[in-house]
């Protein structure tokens, strides 16, 4: 181990210091949504305004008369976070202010019910960063399937049984749809890679125009795993190719987080109760496992995830070096 040459006090100054969301909120231990909110606001800083869709994040942060938010925050209804954000941004523009507007929604509020508002906001080019924390089902109402739920996953409305092996349909490719709006910047990220999340938030914050971050955020309750393993499981989603980390600029693939040694999807699926029916001695289960492996292989192929480069280290410095300097700092 080499010695640290910078005094700790100085090192601390390099750490993100601003916290947009305070401790004491009511999220479950290991909640990916809470972590998303923390990482996003750490990187965005205090000069922001948040529009939050209905969902877990809204509920566990603001039980009246308490609020965990240290930034101006507003919740209207389920499906309009993007439109509320568009209104806030128009107001900032009209008032000649530069406060950045961030919209926050879960996968239900983004992929499904809020999809139209999101598309409209992106198409009109509002200077809004839309962040989707994706826990892959309607967790706030008790784990119902959404169009983001992965294929074959069990939810309370896609239960396995004699006739079914969990969700029959595929996870919607939201980033591709978002990118089809020709927005300057869209990316996927995972709470398992906090520096990567912060970096992508900063990158999006620097763009004057609509940007989109799709953040994989485990839900211990809905996925059926120990909250202490959230980060490990989120990391496995990336390492198996089930959740590729990519960046798109103006709709074109700009960068990916490489996987040097992709792991089998079963490593990711097995620790989660929502996939337990796939590990029974059942021919359909084996078929679905093959199907899921094929999806992961497909992701690795189309995004070119198999890295000849060394694995991306989840540090700011590694990314800066990879990008050839402080381009986005």
């Amino acid at each position: 181990m080499s010695e640290i040459s910078i005094p700790v006090s100085k090192l601390r100054k390099k750490q993100p210091r601003f916290q947009g969301i305070d401790s004491g909120h009511r999220a479950c231990p290991g909640c990916g949504a809470a972590l998303t909110a923390r990482l996003v606001t750490e990187a965005s800083g205090p000069d922001v305004m948040l529009a939050n869709a209905t969902g877990c994040l809204e509920v566990f942060t603001t039980p009246w008369p308490e609020s965990a938010w240290r930034v101006p925050w507003m919740h209207s209804v389920f499906e309009n976070a993007a439109a509320i954000a568009a209104g806030m941004e128009s107001a900032m523009k009209a008032q000649g202010k530069n406060t950045k507007v961030i919209a926050l929604g879960g996968d239900g509020g983004t992929f499904d019910i809020g999809f139209q508002c999101l598309s409209g906001m992106l198409e009109r080019g509002h200077n809004v960063l839309y962040v989707c924390y994706d826990n892959e089902a309607y967790m706030n109402t008790g784990v119902q399937r959404s169009s983001s739920t992965p294929h074959a996953a069990m939810t309370t409305t896609s239960p396995p049984g004699k006739e079914r092996m969990g969700k029959r349909h595929l996870k919607k490719d939201i980033v591709a749809i978002v990118a089809a709006h020709h927005i300057p910047y869209a990316a996927t990220a995972s709470v398992a890679y906090p520096s990567d999340v912060r970096k992508k938030v900063r990158r999006a914050m620097a763009v004057d125009g609509p940007t989109f971050l799709h953040i994989h955020a485990p839900c211990p309750l809905g996925w059926g795993h120990d909250g202490a393993r959230s980060i490990e499981i989120a990391r496995l989603a990336v390492e198996t190719g089930m959740f590729p980390l990519i960046e798109l600029e103006r709709g074109g693939l700009a960068d990916v987080m490489p996987i040097r040694n992709p792991r089998p999807v079963t490593d990711y699926l097995k620790p989660q109760q929502r996939f337990r029916h796939l590990f029974k001695d059942d021919v359909r289960a084996r078929e679905e496992l093959e199907h899921l492996q094929a999806i992961a292989d497909h992701n690795i192929e189309v995004y070119g995830l198999r890295g000849e480069r060394p694995d991306a280290l989840d540090t700011e410095a590694a990314d800066t070096a990879h990008r050839g300097g402080m381009r986005w700092a």
């Binding site: 205090p46 000069d47 922001v48 305004m49 529009a51 809204e58 509920v59 942060t61 603001t62 039980p63 009246w64 008369p65 609020s67 938010w69 240290r70 930034v71 101006p72 925050w73 507003m74 919740h75 209207s76 209804v77 499906e79 309009n80 439109a83 509320i84 954000a85 568009a86 209104g87 806030m88 941004e89 128009s90 107001a91 900032m92 523009k93 009209a94 008032q95 406060t99 139209q116 508002c117 598309s119 409209g120 198409e123 009109r124």
Partner: protein
Amino acid sequence: MPEALEGSQAIARAVALCRPHVVSAYPITPQTHIVENISKLVADGKLECEFVSVESEFSAASVALGAAAAGSRAYTASSSQGILLMSEVLYDIAGLRIPLVLTCANRAVSAPLSIWNDHQDSMAVRDAGWIQLYCMSNQEAVDTTIQAYRIAERTELPVMVCVDGFTLTHTLEPIDIPDQAQVDGYLPPFKFARALDPMNPMSIGTLVAPEYFTEVREVHHRALLKSVDEIESAARDWAELSGRDTAGLLEVYGSPDARVGMIAIGSAVGTLLDAMDRYPELGPVKLIRLRCFRPFPFEALKAACAGLSEVVVLERAFSPGSGGIVATEVRAALSELPEMPRVHGYAMGLGGRDIPLETYGRALEVVGREPPERFAVLDLRPEQIPAEEL
């Protein structure tokens, strides 16, 4: 100096005089001309504002809400299906106590599809917690739009200005457009105390548990009841400034000591007034126009109806399976009088059916009928209904 203007054009000019920061809208007949005119004012550099052409009325209301919450004066307009698509957000705007103004160019609601005028749209959202003002003429629509911003911003309640689709929005009338200095003197710049601000972060729209929810609703109800004072003073002050008479909660015409009263809403009152002049032989009638439907003007209505023995309510919407909406509320209010008049309820002019002068006489035929008419459609053509449906 009056100018010949289409209703929508005049309303757009009135909105511009209020200096909105953000206008969001989605096209729907018969509202479209209003926002077309506003976007032209923006394009011509006569109005400096963010004009957001959204992808649905749902977003139109949401953008206006987000903008107002962020401290900007906001405006939107819609009709019919658009109002219903907005309805979830309309409740939210009111519940969050966000001041903004919406013009409802009144139109029937599907099905069957009709693009023509009645009041089913704004009546469908009467419980959303907004102030609702109904205009009789385009001059009143102009004056009411300006007053609406003052009322909204002083009460922190949203105001819906209802104007009859086509009958008002598409009709050319000589209209006095106030000058900018007049409006600026009447309407101070928008300062929203709860505006979202990074220097003073606040959380708006939190989850409220049963231990507080009831009280929040009660406070909202009281705010609406109290807003009658602001509605009246807004009209009084504007009348003084503009030199034009403007109604407050309601307006009373005709014979002050008549025993028969007639209550109506919106532009139909103009027709009824003409009919009253045309047919004096039908006897003395006190015609009452409800300009304000929310808050319901209980006291003003009771005062106006004291001494009446019969009241005929004419309205342009109804609740299927129940009957008149306005009539039901009028009955509730008048039941508090020591001698309650007999109240007859009629719907008319649905889905754009013309309201001719003869309507006045037909409505008065019910006077004295026993039992009173609980509810009927006055201008029904029974011959157009299949026999098995009758």
